[in-house]
Amino acid sequence: MAGGAHGTGGLTFDKSKRAWPNELNILFALILIVAIFEGLGQVLPYMRQQSFLFDSNGRFDSIFNEARLRIIILQVSIIGIIALGVTQVIITAGIDLSSGSVVGATAMIAMSFAQTSLVNGHPNPKAIFGEWAMDLPVLIPVLVGLGCGLIAGFINGALIAYTRIPPFIATLGMMVSARGVAKWWSRGNPISFPTEDFAWIGSGMMPVIWFMMLAVLFHFIMRYTVYGKHTYAIGSNQDAARMSGINVDRHRILVYSIAGILASFAAIILSSKNLTAQSGMGIMYELDAIAMAVIGGVSLTGGRGSIIGTVLGALIFGVIISGFTYLRLDAFYQEMVKGGIIVAAVVLDQWRQRRAGSKG
């Protein structure tokens, strides 16, 4: 054993001796990627020395290109909220493939209780229910929507906990079924014209505000509460967690339920922002959310990762998409590269893990 151990009885809890937090690596990756885009903007001839990060229009009141920064963060906020839940699921060594479909189903169902009765003085042309479901207080569509997510998440968790089927399969089933619900709800018709109050939820920069508030909340929960500790413990060593008296099954259900609620909240924001709900909403969001978490250092083998990491991962994700637009590369290149980045992040994680293992 290390002869150099110091402190009382060979014990210390010296904060400075803590391992280098992985979040800092991810922050550096974020800075590096921004720098690469900035550099490419200066170097590529067709870009005519535009700046990615800084203001190029010679305004005097600002040095940053705020419009771009705002778009980046707005773009990732909604999926980022899903990623907060997905992060918790992955930390338990699970996976949630259903979030995108839950977004679709929730958007449809919530919007159908958020409709306004009069559009420009005329009866709502997209009315799905009668007058009784119109002009309801905003709390009702919100609670109905969150309820949808809760039910979907609860079913996911219960399937995984009690039938012992892999999370991949359980949530794949939910992915297909929830999309079915989304299409069935209004026979594929879009649902539109929400009340003013409902429209406020996702208006302007509200998605960013929700994302930030929820990120802070769940950062706190994951770090400072028993719930967070048990989530890490289950992903780290399920048997140890069980032996320690943690009710692993019940905790799993709670984690998947929270992930479902977060996905449905993202759906509420999205449908509010778009002022409409469509059955195809949220397709592939689950993969983007997983990508954000994985890029942010959440380990697919469970036990490791953090909300801060996922927020940084979401920003990296947004910067890359925005950067491609900025370099005027077509969307299909974006997808190709996105896939590559996800794989690279997982490879990096495994490499890190092996290195940590050989050290111990």
Binding site: M1, A2, G4, A5, H6, T8, G9, G10, L11, T12, F13, D14, K15, K17, R18, A19, I221, Y224, T225, V226, Y227, K229, H230, Y232, A233, G235, S236, N237, D239, A240, A241, R242, M243, S244, G245, I246, H251, L254, G303, R304, A356, G357, K359, G360
Partner: protein, 259 residues
């Protein structure tokens, strides 16, 4: 039954399909007593522990803990009854640090009305961990490092410190020093002595003859799923114990059962 019996098993038996891993074990442990269980690999020692601690459900037989028959549904039940166990396969969460592991499942908390979202009292748990480890002279460079980055000995010490940190009515250790170096073994033995001083009873499974003779009052030998000897330390020696382990000898009172 006399009051000073902490644990008693009668005819405790476990079959895994056709494998008779444990057969008719009659075992008693008295207040403050430290007993070693010895026997070859596969003799059924760990199986015995798993039946007592509710990790598995016995095929037949009875278990009395502090005079009352018990049927633990799981290890948590056993722990809540006051039985702390260091299992042979360590039950540690690699990504958590030392206090987290020691307090896993019974965290010090605040604001308990928040239910699952009640707050962790990190400082309290860290202080208690430091106090506990200091008492046992366990050396761990930084208790806030993830367990993943620790040596086998340090990990074992954490697992043991965990049982020693809570006042238990019975401690069971299954081969706690099997994978440890000399220094680390000494630390584990220190913890065992601390338990003896405060009068907490212990079942120690070990292959280390020197250790067993240093630490315990009595040695129970398992052979092919059966108990074949129950030896007071003063009335036996290493050679004698080996004879029972290998099957060269069987105590007359066990001759019928331990074939």
């Amino acid at each position: 039954m006399s009051d000073d019996i902490i644990l008693e098993t009668r005819d405790l038996t476990k079959h895994y399909g056709g494998v008779h891993a444990l057969e008719g074990a009659n075992f008693t442990l008295r207040k403050g007593e430290h007993v070693a269980i010895m026997g070859d690999n596969g003799a059924g020692k760990s199986t015995f522990v798993r039946q007592i601690t509710g990790v598995e459900q016995r095929t037949r037989g009875e278990i009395f803990f502090e005079g009352k028959p018990v049927h633990f549904a799981g290890p948590l039940d056993a722990r809540e009854a006051g039985i702390e166990t260091v299992f042979q396969t360590l039950a540690l969460a690699d990504d958590l640090d030392v206090p987290d592991n020691i307090f896993l499942g019974r965290e010090m908390t605040r604001w308990d009305w928040l239910g699952p979202f009640r707050l962790l009292n990190y400082k309290g748990m860290r202080d208690a961990t430091l106090a506990g480890l200091e008492k046992t002279a366990v050396k761990i460079p930084n208790i806030n490092n993830a367990i993943r980055n620790m040596s086998g000995g340090q990990r074992q010490c954490v697992a043991i410190a965990r049982t020693a940190s809570f006042h238990s009515r019975l401690t069971i250790m299954d081969e706690p020093t099997a994978a440890l170096g000399v220094q680390e073994t000494a630390q584990v033995e220190n913890i065992v002595r601390t338990l003896k001083e405060v009068g907490e009873p212990l079942i120690l499974i070990s292959h280390n003859m020197r250790q067993v003779f240093d630490l315990v009052d009595r040695i129970v030998v398992f052979r092919r799923g059966r108990i074949c000897a129950n030896l007071k330390k003063e009335e036996t020696d290493g050679q004698d114990v080996v004879a029972y382990i290998t099957g060269a000898k069987t105590q007359p009172e066990y001759a019928e059962t331990a074939a």
